[in-house]
Structure formats: structure tokens, C-alpha cells
Symmetry: C2
Subunit: 387 residues, 2 copies
């Protein structure tokens, strides 16, 4: 598979900006203030792993018309200068007297009238990435302008992916598919789980991942008790179930899915649980079409995964995926988000086994006009076996 072209044409960022601005007009917002990595990148194309450092804040202001304005540390000027952004205001950060708050307030006062409202993410899955003291100073400096809810505008425009975004997610999923196919090379009886984790990440890189921000997994008999733990040095043993769940990135877009492996022949309970997971995933796939809700997908999978009723601690059976490992919506009974073409989702049912054990399976799909399409390669009922 050929890698999609890196980045996006300017027209893609223009469309994102216009989509948001149309919703801003509806919501009566004069600007959006963006503070987190995915928000900043979505509208500007600013892609860097430098966000790993908590030192510097990064701001983007989306006015009611026209392109976004970047208000950023000067260390990012060269990289931001390569995006479609032309209005960039920088300061040398960290500045212990004023770490960009004055510059940001000036910018917002310039584009927002005195009686204007500025939207800021405030709902679930969001946070404001700026020091709280700076936020309080900004609120004061902007008065009588108000910092209010962004009405989930960025979340809403991000949910529907473009074909270029879908191609990147599909490419990332292909990398993971190929890495999972090579797990027999790195996981043998006696190998420690931490060695398997390191080896699997190296396989992802070898298959063309830019980086591997997320890897979780589990290793236990008859299922596992946890899907978020780091690796221990415990060795792979006959009879174990090994689960690896990766969120790897290509050109800033994630895939997110897992595979289960039985070390030696699976027990009937493990094989049956795996088959039930595959059936549940297929039921979710069949239910995934425009007009259905996230809740419908949950119910379709839940009916198969948990025929006797009851719930698992995981609490959800999938979620959005894209610029982040997990995005809106959640596939839970309470989520009434209506599916539309272009949404990329994970289907992630879980089942309970004896002794408090669980097993989880996950695939990635995209919603099309006529139904769902796989982004990851759907699995057989039979669990993969390592010997």
C-alpha cells in the first residue's frame, strides 16, 4: 500500500475553517479560542511531537471570518510558517512576566467586539491547555467580552472526516494489520511481555508507523482482567491469552485496534468468547449505517456479546478515532449521536469470562452512504494461535 501524501492541500483547512465558522454564526460566537494539540492542528496543520513538553502554551484564534490566527512561542514560528497560516504572532516562551497572555488578549480584542462571545471547549473529552492563573488573567483582560462554551463546534466538525483523512487512518490501520501478522516472530513461550511490547512497537515502525503513541495489552489464563496496564516482565506461557491493542500514527492520524492470541490451543471458553466477540463486531458493523445512532451500535453489539444481560467495566463498545486515539462519539447506550458518512469509528465489544476475566476485540470502520466499510482487516471467529 502506498502511503498517502503527507499533509493536506490548503483547501482542506479552508473547508474546516468555513465549516466551523458556519456553526459559530449559528451559535452567535465571534471567535473560537483553541488551546490543545488536536484543535490547533485541525485548523492549521501544525504537526509536531513537541506538545510532549508541557512548558509552552500554544494558542489559535479562529475569527468569525477569515483564516485562523496563530499566537505561539517563537520556537514554533518556523514550523507554523510552513502551514497555510499567514497571521502569526509570537513571543519568546517561557516568559515569566507574561507567557503570551497579553499577546493573546490583544489578538482577541482585535477580532471580537466588546459585546462578543468567545467560544472555548468545555464539554466532555476536552480541557483547556493553559495555566489556570493565565486563564483568569485572560478573562479579566477581555472584559466585557466573555469566554463561553464553544458549543462543541470543533468536536462536531471533526467527527465527519474528509477522504484525505480517511486515507490516512486506513493507511495507519494497514500498518497495524501487517504488524499483528508478524506477532508470531516476537512472541514465543518464554518471552517476557515487556519484550513483546518492545518488539511489537518495533514491528509497527518497521511497517511504516511514524510513531506508536499507544500500546496496551494483557497476558493471562482464560482472558485478562485489565486492558490499560503497562507490560510486566512476566513470560508468555502455554495456555495464556495475549492481547495487544495499539494506537499507532501515520502523518498525525491514528488507527486503534487490538488482536487476541492464544498461546497453544485455546480453551473452549476462550475460543467461544473470541467467536462471540467477532459475531458482536459483525453485528455492530451491520448496524453501522447513516441514520443509526451510536446507541444503536452499542445495542447491536451488546445483544450478541452479553446475551444474558449485564455490563462490563469497560463501559463502552467503541468510539471515534482520527487525530486522537479516541474521539467523539462513545458507543454506549446513552450516546444518541447520529452516524453520518465520513465518520471513522472503532467497534470494541468486550465479553466476560469466568473468574472476573474479560476479552476485548476491536476493529476500525468508516461510515459510507450505504453502510460501514472496514479500515482494519476483519478477523475470523477462530482466535489466532501462537506456538
Amino acid at each position: 500500500m502506498t502511503a498517502p501524501t503527507r499533509g493536506f492541500p490548503d483547501a482542506e483547512f479552508e473547508a474546516r475553517t468555513h465549516n466551523a465558522q458556519a456553526l459559530m454564526a449559528e451559535a452567535g460566537l465571534s471567535a473560537l479560542l483553541l488551546t490543545t494539540e488536536p484543535e490547533v492542528r485541525y485548523y492549521t496543520g501544525f504537526l509536531t511531537r513537541f506538545w510532549e513538553s508541557p512548558t509552552r502554551p500554544w494558542y489559535v484564534v479562529l475569527p468569525e471570518s477569515g483564516p485562523p490566527i496563530a499566537v505561539i512561542p517563537s520556537i514554533g514560528a518556523h514550523l507554523m510558517g510552513q502551514t497555510w497560516i499567514t497571521d502569526m504572532r509570537t513571543w519568546q516562551s517561557p516568559d515569566y512576566d507574561d507567557d503570551g497572555v497579553g499577546l493573546l488578549a490583544d489578538t482577541l480584542r482585535e477580532v471580537v467586539p466588546q459585546d462578543g462571545d468567545i467560544g472555548l471547549a468545555d464539554a466532555m473529552e476536552s480541557h483547556v491547555r493553559m495555566p489556570r492563573a493565565d486563564f483568569q488573567a485572560l478573562e479579566l483582560a477581555l472584559q466585557p467580552r466573555r469566554l463561553v462554551s464553544d458549543k462543541q463546534i470543533t468536536r462536531r466538525v471533526r467527527m465527519k472526516k474528509s477522504e484525505a483523512e480517511i486515507a490516512k487512518i486506513r493507511f495507519a490501520a494497514g500498518i497495524a494489520d501487517r504488524a499483528f501478522a508478524r506477532v508470531p516472530d516476537i512472541a514465543r513461550p518464554g518471552t517476557s511481555l515487556s519484550t513483546v511490547f518492545r518488539g511489537f512497537q518495533a514491528l509497527c515502525l518497521d511497517e511504516c508507523a511514524d510513531w506508536v503513541p499507544y500500546l496496551a495489552g494483557a497476558l493471562d489464563y482464560g482472558g485478562y482482567s485489565d486492558v490499560i496496564s503497562p507490560a510486566t516482565d512476566a513470560p508468555v506461557q502455554q495456555g495464556h491469552v495475549l492481547m495487544l491493542d495499539t494506537g499507532l500514527v501515520h502523518d498525525g492520524y491514528f488507527c486503534d485496534f487490538d488482536r487476541n492470541f492464544s498461546i497453544g490451543a485455546p480453551s473452549p471458553a476462550v475460543q467461544s468468547a473470541h467467536a462471540r466477540l467477532i459475531d458482536a463486531t459483525r453485528a455492530g458493523f451491520d448496524a453501522a449505517r447513516p441514520g443509526a445512532t451510536a446507541a444503536d451500535l452499542f445495542q447491536a453489539m451488546h445483544a450478541v456479546a452479553t446475551p444474558q444481560g449485564g455490563a462490563t467495566d469497560a463501559g463502552r463498545f467503541g468510539h471515534g478515532v482520527g487525530m486522537q486515539l479516541t474521539e467523539w462519539p462513545s458507543i454506549i447506550a446513552a450516546d444518541q449521536t447520529e452516524l453520518v458518512p465520513g465518520m471513522t469509528l472503532t467497534l470494541e465489544p468486550s465479553v466476560s469470562l469466568d473468574g472476573g476475566r474479560i476479552m476485548v476485540h476491536e476493529e476500525n470502520i468508516v461510515i459510507r452512504e450505504t453502510g460501514a466499510e472496514w479500515l482494519s482487516a476483519p478477523q475470523d471467529s477462530a482466535i489466532r494461535v501462537l506456538t
Copy 2:
């Protein structure tokens, strides 16, 4: 080098808790509310890459005495149950009606008197990782109790590392040293920079990194213009300077340093710049002893790196390192933080070259009673050459 034992004895978490509680008593705080990954992990030992998902909030309450209380999604209960934490309160997240706010408010009302203050990070390098609407609801629910500044208590206790923490950082630095030594195997003329990035991350994993959260680098003639960009597909060519800067992790602790390579014999300007960087780093090392300030280190390096005066856009010449890629303090002229034994720092001078180019060198050190000690292997004046 043998890997240090994973995790910490309970006594380490008890000491961290007591250190913070002593400062809380001084500051008149009845509790700390912790919301970010390093804050939660520092007091509990809760280590997982699951923070990559923005879906769920995680809370820890540190009361004025006694161990921390975890208020977390049930999906984390099994893992948190393996830490020293015994008081754990969970809810099934995401919950669209109340995603933990009620449970958190109950917990805080239980341990904080009505006239009590609750400290929350609010200064530079911090943010509050919870949805803003939830924060506003929490503030209301806690009245008349107030959410106030944490007076940087967690930042202050984290700055001085224990021997166990230093051992983890030293081990991470050793991994990077060995990976840098193998760069000639993966970077040859004609290799694309993106291939070098993938190969270098694989080397880090092969040398025992748990994961590689950060890699930046640059490739250009006569220095480079940027130290935060992702890799392009541009090929390594004769005459290029290649810079790789990694923040890799072992058992939750980072190293953070870079190495420069000349492809073929370096130009006199590049060789001279590299030698100046090494001299500046050495000047920083010599100045790094208890009682000196971060500003003293900056000035010591600046005098060597920029003898003609002037500044670079990078704005700082190093920083703390540990559970995060970058931590307090910043090595800048304005930072009056006094160095004490146990602080782990990067020394990261930069120099300017013709054509707006820069070069950056970085090492990791720990402050001891008698001065600094290298954690990374200090480099020679001569830049490494790849052929």
C-alpha cells in the same frame, strides 16, 4: 547496565505524600486536587499509557493527612488496585449525566471543612485536565470551600528526585546513549529522514526503552532552522548536519538529549559551532552545584555559546527532566530557582550559524552535594561523522 527494579516501594509514595502535606500545612490548604498524568502518578504510582485517550477524567485527592484518595473510572480500578492506594472510589465512565463530578465533590466535602481551601495547579507548565463545564459544576458543589492555587506544591516536591528516580532517569539515558551509538547503522546518504526517525525509535526499543514518546530532529546544510519538526522524506546527503533529539521512557521516567552528526567531513563552521556547544555544556556542568541558580547556569552557558551577545529563538538552555520530558525549572536568565542535590536537569545550549541556522546540543545531569554528575555520556568537541 541492569534495569532498575520497576515501580517504587510504598515508602517512596509515603515520603512524597508527607513532603506535600508539610507544604500544604504551611500554605493553609486542606487538600490538593490532582488531575493530570504526572500529578496522579507521582502520588499513587498509577502508570499507564491510557492517558493518550482524552475520554475519561482521572482524579486524586490528597488530604491534609493520610494517603491519597483515587476518584477514577472503573476501567482503571484493577490497575490502581495494584498501587499503594487503598481508598478508591470509581464510576463507570463515560457517564453523560455525571462523569465523576458528584463523586469527586462528595470526596472533597468529606475531607475538607466548609471553610477549607483546596489547592489546584494554576501556574506555568500546568493545566487542569477536566472539562471546563465540570470544573464550574465542581466549584459550585463545593461552596463555601474554595478551589485556590496549589502554590506549586507538587512542582516543588517533584523537583528533588529520590535515588530510585535518578536510577530510572540514568537507565533511560543509557538506553539513548547506546541507540545514538548505533545511528551509523540506520542513517546513510540516501536514507530519508523519516526512515532515520523510524529506525532510531526501533533502536531505542531494541536497547530497552519501554516507549519513545518524543523524537524530533533536523537535517540541513550548515546547521538547521528548527528543532521541533516531524521528519520529512528528504534524503540524507553529503554535507548535511543530522540532529536527533529523543525523549524515551523507561518505567515512566524520561531522558531527554540530542546528538549531532555530520554527513561526511564537517565544514569548519559546523565543527566550530559543535565545539562551542560542547564548551558551553561543560561550562553549565561546572556551574551546576547546590546554591547556584538556574539563571547562573544559563549565564555560564550563554557566555560561551554566544560570546558576541544576542539570543536564540529557543529561549532557554535546558530544563528539568524526570516523569515528564520537560519539567521545572527553565534554564533561562529569569529563573532564580536554586539548585539542590537530587535535581535532574538537561543542559541544552544553542548557537547561531550563518543563514539563520542554529545548532543545539543537550546532556542530562543530576545535582549532587559537590557538583554535577553526568547522566548521559558527555560528548567530545568533534562532531560525530557519518559516512
